[in-house]
């Protein structure tokens, strides 16, 4: 069990929002490199070998974006060569790389997100504010396996009755609609029993495995402080960067880049601490 999973779900959700809201929309390459490094390090240390496929896809996206962007955008002073009559510029190539980088880091951070937060926890967070939406989503997640197993049973019944085993659109559609006809009435029964047990008369409650404690508050304050620092510096134009017509020479602000780097890598603190405790100090953990 990863120590990071013991936080109240609002903490990692806020953290991911902080990281992703910056890495997706900035064009500053220093911030993008921070986000990408942080995401890759976290993903690899949490998911180990499972992360390799996603990383390969991300590398491919970055390469494709970098190579194809100059075909659509012809701005920039440094012309590398000509494609037809249009120049293929270094600036557009690097801008493409930066675009690819922001898409790749988004995918990687979503990968980290799914490793740390489960659907139930998302529901528990939103369940207080939006009970109806959360209720519907949890019902959907319950119905999907139920419908699928009903479909399989109907299919077996169809085989037993001497039906064809060849997959066809018509056959699948027939069993699929039979499945709906069966489940629809069952589901209405569910709604009737909800009504009978007083649905809508009182607010719903959710069981929550994690609770908001001091360490949650500390981690939340830490990530919010770093995020706000970054936003202030972005707003004051200290982290502006541009690619056209020439690559900008400014855009590196030690405080801004440093705090974003710290923000991206801060979960590593807990991962490393856990590893060290496990290794050297079994009694304390």
């Amino acid at each position: 069990m990863c120590y990071l999973k013991t936080f109240d779900p609002t903490v990692p959700m806020t953290y991911f929002l902080c990281v992703m809201s910056i890495c997706v929309f900035t064009v500053n390459p220093y911030l993008q490199v921070c986000a990408l490094t942080g995401g890759v390090v976290l993903l690899v240390s949490i998911k180990k070998k499972e992360s390799l496929k996603l990383l390969a896809v991300c590398a491919l996206i970055m390469a494709v974006m970098a190579v194809t962007n100059p075909l659509f955008v012809h701005r920039g002073m440094t012309e590398l060569f000509y494609v037809g009559k249009q120049p293929y510029t270094l600036e557009a190539l690097l801008y493409g790389l930066s675009l690819g980088c922001s898409i790749a880091s988004l995918l990687i951070w979503f990968g980290v997100w799914s490793a740390l937060i489960t659907q139930d926890e998302i529901l528990a967070v939103f369940g207080k504010r939006m009970p109806k939406t959360a209720l519907v989503i949890s019902m959907i997640l319950g119905f999907i396996p139920k419908l699928h197993s009903k479909y399989t049973r109907l299919l077996h019944a169809f085989y037993a009755g001497g039906g064809t085993r060849r997959k066809s659109l018509k056959r699948t559609a027939m069993i699929f609609t039979a499945c709906l006809a069966y489940e629809a009435e069952q589901v209405i029964d569910i709604s009737l029993s909800m009504k009978a047990r007083g649905y809508g008369s009182k607010s719903r409650t959710y069981s929550q495995r994690r609770h908001f404690r001091k360490k949650d508050a500390a981690a939340l304050a830490f990530s919010l402080a770093l995020c706000i620092t970054c936003y202030v510096l972005i707003g004051s134009r200290r982290l502006d960067y541009w690619y056209y017509p020439r690559l900008s020479t400014q855009g590196f602000d030690a405080l801004g880049v440093g705090s974003y780097f710290l923000l991206c890598l801060s979960p590593m603190y807990y991962i490393i601490k856990e590893k060290l405790l496990w290794r050297y100090c079994p009694a304390a953990s």
Binding site: V136, I144, L147, Y151, F176, I188, G235, D240
Partner: protein, 238 residues
């Protein structure tokens, strides 16, 4: 009433505020930031209004069932490459249960199917696209249920609309603004996908039109759930 006021605030205050924030903070990518935030806010406002409205348990259960069904449909029909029954199911539900239910089924289908197929920045756009598919179908329900050809044409048109909206998302995401040549390139490279959307909508609407209509009609007669698309607004059965 309160919900109305809050949603009005979202549209009149939050959306412009978000656009301005995008321009101030993210100069180069301001368009993509603003568009994505606006899409998210629109869905949030819609969900909020829905949240505050009192709706019977049966309606919630039907929304959940139909969304689950279109996700399962995506799995069950996976043996046919790139043919997905989701839009057809959303359209038919919207016709027989009204535009709000249609919107919710569309939005939840996108959200929940992405739990299985990968969540990402495209989720809000997909939610909006499928939500609107249902909403418009619910609005046009009276005519769509009467005229079979019209229903199929609607399916094809909405499939193209869905694909164009998703291309717009890709375009915004990659460039931060709309470069028309890139948009055209994306549309033409995704032309095959657009065609499959339109074709699969037509095929599945033709297949499901009668059985689903029969099931929904039975639910209406037996339990009094759903609206009669053929009845006029005044004497809608509730």
């Amino acid at each position: 009433m309160k919900a109305r006021v809050i949603s009005l605030c979202v549209f009149l205050l939050c959306i412009p505020a978000v656009c301005v924030t995008g321009m101030v903070f993210f100069k180069e990518r301001s368009v993509s930031f603003s568009c994505i935030s606006v899409v998210i806010l629109m869905i949030a406002a819609y969900l909020y209004i829905y949240e505050k409205k009192s709706s019977p348990a049966a309606e919630l259960v039907i929304i959940a069932l139909m969304s689950a069904l279109s996700v399962v449909g995506r799995i069950v029909f996976a043996f046919l490459p790139s043919l997905k029954p989701c839009s057809a199911i959303i359209i038919l539900t919207a016709i027989y249960f009204g535009r709000e239910t249609g919107f919710m089924v569309g939005a939840f289908t996108a959200l929940v199917s992405n739990f299985y197929f990968g969540q990402g920045g495209w989720t809000p756009f997909q939610m909006l696209a499928w939500g609107l598919t249902g909403y418009f179908a619910g609005m046009l329900g009276k005519w769509l249920v009467k005229n079979r050809i019209l229903l199929l044409v609607y399916g094809a048109v909405i499939g193209v609309f869905f694909s164009l909206l998703m291309d717009l998302y890709t375009c915004l995401w990659t460039d931060g603004k709309i470069i028309f040549s890139r948009y055209l390139a994306l549309i033409s490279s995704a032309a095959w996908v657009t065609v499959t959307y339109a074709v699969s909508n037509v095929i599945f609407l033709a297949l499901f039109m009668q059985p689903l209509g029969r099931i929904f009609k039975r639910l209406r007669v037996k339990y009094g759930i759903g609206t009669n698309p053929l009845a006029s607004e005044s004497d809608t059965e509730k």
